[in-house]
Subunit: 387 residues, 2 copies
Amino acid sequence: MLQDQAFLRIPGPTPIPPSVQHAMTQPMIGHRGREAKELIQKLRPRLKPVFGTEQEIMIVAGSGTAGLEAAVVNSAKPGDEVLVIATGAFGHRFKKICNSYDYQTHVIEVSWGSAADPAEIEEYLRQHPNIKVVFSTFCETSTGVLNPVRQIGEIVHRTSNALFVVDGVSCIGGVESKMDDWGIDVLVTGSQKAMMLPAGLTLIAVSERALRTMKENPQPRFYLDLTTYHDKLLADSTPFTPALSLLFGLNQVLNLMEEEGIDNVVKRHETMKSMTRAACRALGLPLLTLDQDASPTVTAIQPDDFDPEKLRSILKTEFGLSIAGGQQHLKGKIFRIGHMGYSSPADVLQTISLLELGLYKTGKQIELGKGVAAAQTVYTEHENRRN
Amino acid sequence: MLQDQAFLRIPGPTPIPPSVQHAMTQPMIGHRGREAKELIQKLRPRLKPVFGTEQEIMIVAGSGTAGLEAAVVNSAKPGDEVLVIATGAFGHRFKKICNSYDYQTHVIEVSWGSAADPAEIEEYLRQHPNIKVVFSTFCETSTGVLNPVRQIGEIVHRTSNALFVVDGVSCIGGVESKMDDWGIDVLVTGSQKAMMLPAGLTLIAVSERALRTMKENPQPRFYLDLTTYHDKLLADSTPFTPALSLLFGLNQVLNLMEEEGIDNVVKRHETMKSMTRAACRALGLPLLTLDQDASPTVTAIQPDDFDPEKLRSILKTEFGLSIAGGQQHLKGKIFRIGHMGYSSPADVLQTISLLELGLYKTGKQIELGKGVAAAQTVYTEHENRRN
């Protein structure tokens, strides 16, 4: 295989655009000087349309999990009843975080590959009127499910006074997000997925009512105290040294998103999802999720006639193509293709063409080119629809 | 002034070496694949001599303060008596973190600009035999003091069973560090100081006995639970998505340190300190700290006949040279010159030559070139001593 060539098609970390790489290598600056202040001032309003909010988006140095923990320890008081809607590995992460603290944690377990059912949540909230915070994953990375957070938000507010906290790590920047309209109180994302950056930043938007709760919350916390980030952000600053090189990159990411138009970014991801799913169907690859539950950023396939680990190994060794395996009990049973961030329909076509060769080499009976053709057809249909 | 030229001589963030910038822009990789594992495997043994330990160094995505909080919440149990030795703004940060949790926090306040007095600490520990953890800053960035952590460590272990936790954020990688020999139980640093990287990583070394305490510590924590980082590190992995671009950079930082030799890195910082202090004396600039208390990484000057903010403004505007002001009650009263990480005697000479021009423009009566000559003399003396 051609040396020094690699195709990263896992559901994050994702490839970094060259102009973003370049932006991140600008000479370092002081974190309390005019340039840093101006940079944060420039970022603040431009993050809002990505989240679909008028509220401030806090910028914290850390992994996505730091953002999830910040959401938990700022929203819930010790002793609170909280509800975690778990549709996969990242729903379970919310559960583990809650279990590390003094909360009464309820969990609705949803079978992996399915989306949460709003009616079940409504019923649960009616039966447990003391729940103070509801946690849901938006895109469940481990299964490629996009949960109906709009409907869940509507139900949470209709049936309770709970805060509604959403993990958008593997989709914000790639899917439609209307945080304010949908009644999301806390929305978290990470830098290394649809935001096209290396890992190391977590971005957290907070509603006014959630901020009021956070200001009165006695839960001990320091580095992850979002109220201090909020106070400093209003002065275009941060409480602790910001990850400046990632902020340089974030500025260029927002340039790219604005040039394309955020609506077009969302449509591009929809197209990539539909292309990938059509190709899988054409190749006889069973999809883990229903169309109505499928995320625009990642697609999971559950083959019944070959070992997905063997396929992954061939693709990696022969072409430098990385796709993801399954997590926890789906390990060895599924594979996942990421199509988010710095990823285009052209990349999807390449991925599918290599996937076909990989399938051929595992011994699976397929018609070469058939998946690509199906994806091409979807592409032209989406193109026509837009024009 | 020449456009696009800037000299960052604050005590962190510090300039990034070009080869480190380059390393950080390598194409993104999967965080759970072979390359990431090999990278972490390569980093682990090579961090040890920088800290002066045989123990593992945990790599956490976050600011230095995340590392300090990790040190606190892993070392101290709820209800514990702890002692903070506060010699400046970053000693106070330890205090603030401790005050956010359920600890009985004792504080020894040391006047800003002086180092901690080991005899006073010994006396304090004898009077308070229930103290379980002692927190000290190594280099106090706000004053340019290097605290005698070797002597403090010796005293902590002689007079108590407390863990000894050290904030080495603004000096590790630039000063001699013998964590194991000096009895340091937890040693923390950040990426954006002498480690020559952008902010966003905190590195935390933990002694065996501290690790045992951490494993039994019921203090609630999740993202900052160092026992999970330790478990994963032994398998060349991390519990949460690592800040991979910074790890690419860290690998190259270690290449640079190994090429120079860590002993030589330490000597270079000693030389830069002595050059800076000699120049200040030659120019009649009062140093905030005594020679015996001075840090090799940052020097603070407390002028009595001009406004340091005016000097800083001239240097920034005319030459693009950033030096730091004072923090908290020293704001407007001192200025600080950083000389750490990607900084050489040649850079110190340039900084002093510009400082002289700046002083001249503030109206201070100085003999141009006199500070540079004093620094040059120190340089040649140090050179001769080494040969």
